[in-house]
Amino acid sequence: MNLPYTLIFEKRTEDYPKWLPAAVSIGSVVVAFIISGILLKIIGGEPLRVIKFFFTATFGSWAVFSDTMVKATPLILVGLACTVAFKMKLWNIGAEGQFYMGAFFASLVVLVPMVNLETTPKFLVIVLMMIMGMIGGAIWGFIPGILKAKYNVNEIIITLMLNYIALYWNNFWIFDKWSDAGFQMTPQFEKVAWLPRLSDLAREYRMFSGITLHLGVIIAIIAAAIIWWILERSRWGYEIKLIGDNPKAARYAGLNITKNIILVFMLSGALAGLAGMSEISGVVHRLQERISPGYGFTGIIIAWLAKLNPFTVILVSILFGALIVAGREIQPSGIAYLLQGIILFMVISSDVLLRYKIRLINLKPQEA
């Protein structure tokens, strides 16, 4: 086969323009949507109607936009969890399990109960639940952390296995010990353990009635700012990046890699655990099955798409929150997975555009 043109990959020697990474990311998401649209058409759907539906169902009014933000909240936290770990090239695929353990530990505050729920102020109950959620996630991050640091065990498999273990662990409690009259869920939490919602203010401000946006979104944004500060401005963040980029140099520089692996894994787990706490305290108000439709895995995509930048994580999470809100009503349910897979593929393949210039070369001799 002799084509008159050929594609040449040319290594970039100069720095690429500043706008290029963002343009490439946005471009790859657009391409992913187009490919998904074509796939949808092939299996007999109506892509244009789905896209129109997507925008009205997610950004069409304040109420649905609030739904989108509610879904974005755990995604921001989980995306940050993956960001922190990936910065050090630690493949924490276990945010899903850490999310469930966070939810479980936060529930302990209410279900044991750890404090007197009648007399303790709401503020304290919420803070205690946040701390417990982070502890739960951090414990689940500590296990792969120490195994990786001490015995060099592959963290991908360990974190994945821990996801399944966390699911079954939660199931045991909601099916058995804490089951609400035989249902596969715990009784509803007392109001004192609910994160404040905008709709709580509906009596004073009519516009907030029915708006389910809860305080978790503020917690998530603050977390993003803190993580940005840690990664970009603190000494520890510098160490994390150095170990991630060049472990040999880090070792020669005398950094304690073992300690950092464990700490970063625990921080990552704590963020995912906080997401679990925010979800049960802000949205479902009880521990039950399927509190996460795969947030932990979506977090991986979000972190990658955001190029491990905590603030970009917020924006990308809103997009994916919208995908989840719209995806609930798009059948069949596998489409959400499919779309996520395609987006991730496009994003990682598009990186090649940052490293290479691609040129179309005319092979025919130029005619004068």
């Binding site: 195994l147 015995y151 065990v153 296995m161 399944y164 079954y168 069949p332 596998g334 499919l338 490293r355």
Partner: protein, 321 residues
């Protein structure tokens, strides 16, 4: 609880892991880490199941399952080999992609009953007392294929010329390149082989070991366990096969624990309260972790490592492996 049944059923479930793990051994030996096994298995399970349903031919189902897994794996090959993308992230997106495709295309397959792979006895061998009953009777043909598949793979990788090329590309691609071996070609080929075997493993579930389509429950994390087994087996196909069988038997044993009212003369708590079964369901995953920790320590003691170029993209003329 009956030892004969546990061993017999363990061999059947182990065959699933055997195919998937050996497929991954092929890919990783060439330097390509493919974490998409779960997605390829699920797609294979769905493709095999629906083909068998549509054509009334389970063998055709197997073939389509292998092709489906193989073709899906080519996406990973393209992105990691040509575009030098991160293999971990690409493998994960392959899992999403495979799972999504399988769920979308598998809509409405639940509850159907297509023809399955025939179950046969091996003449003469099946009449050996005990061993015959465990190894050579009432197994799906795929189980017998598994018996010979592992040693054949070991022989292929370690003793033949193409096997040597495979190892060379996985250990030192630049040297292989100098000898005129196509590094990209070899990697594409074995990623495809790994995908086909993962597809076969999926179809082994849906058309043979536990026939049916139960969406994501069909594979229920076995693809990930297979990847864990590869590390545990230190990239050796024979060890991967033994690991697979061992795991299959443990799984079956764990299931059987829920049955009897009495264990070792004591009341069986699992029988009294079936919710304790959740702890049993954790066991395969806990065992994988233990196997991995043990395998990693043994490997570092004996200084056996992963293929040197595993996960490293090859770019001709650049410093590196």
């Amino acid at each position: 609880m009956n030892l004969e049944i546990i061993l017999h059923a363990g061999l059947a479930t182990g065959t699933i892991l055997l195919f998937a793990a050996i497929g991954e051994v092929f890919a990783e030996r060439s330097g390509i880490l493919n974490l998409g096994v779960e997605g390829m298995m699920l797609l294979g399970a769905m493709a095999g199941f629906s083909t068998s349903l549509a054509t009334n031919n389970a063998w055709l189902g197997l073939l389509v399952a292998m092709l489906a897994g193989g073709i899906l794996s080519l996406a990973h090959a393209l992105v990691t080999i040509n575009f030098q993308a991160d293999q971990v992230v690409s493998g994960l997106s392959l899992t999403f992609l495979g799972t999504g495709l399988a769920l979308v295309l598998g809509e409405g397959l639940t509850g159907q009953h297509p023809p399955t792979i025939p179950i046969v006895d091996i003449p003469l061998l099946s009449s050996i007392p005990f061993l015959g009953a465990v190894f050579f009777s009432e197994h799906s043909i795929l189980v017998y294929v598994g018996y010979i598949f592992a040693p054949l793979t070991a022989f292929y990788i370690n003793k033949t010329r193409p096997g040597m090329h495979l190892r060379a590309v996985g250990e030192k691609p630049s040297a292989a390149d100098t000898l005129g071996i196509s590094v990209y070609g070899v990697r594409y080929f074995y990623t495809f082989v790994g995908g086909m075997l993962a597809g076969l493993a999926g179809a082994t579930i849906s058309l043979s070991v536990s026939p049916g389509w139960y969406s994501t429950q069909t594979t229920s994390g076995q693809g990930w366990i297979a990847i864990g087994l590869v590390i545990f087996a230190q990239w050796n196909p024979m060890r991967a096969a033994f690991g697979g069988y061992l795991f299959g038997m443990l799984r079956r044993f764990i299931l059987d624990l829920q049955g009897p009212a009495l264990i070792f003369g004591m009341t069986n708590p699992l029988y009294v309260n079936s919710n304790y079964g959740f702890f049993l369901q954790m066991m395969p995953f806990i065992l994988t972790i233990i196997a991995l920790v043990w395998g990693s320590r043994a490997a570092s003691r004996k200084r056996i490592g992963a293929p040197a170029a595993l996960g490293v993209p090859y770019i001709r003329g650049e410093r590196g492996l």
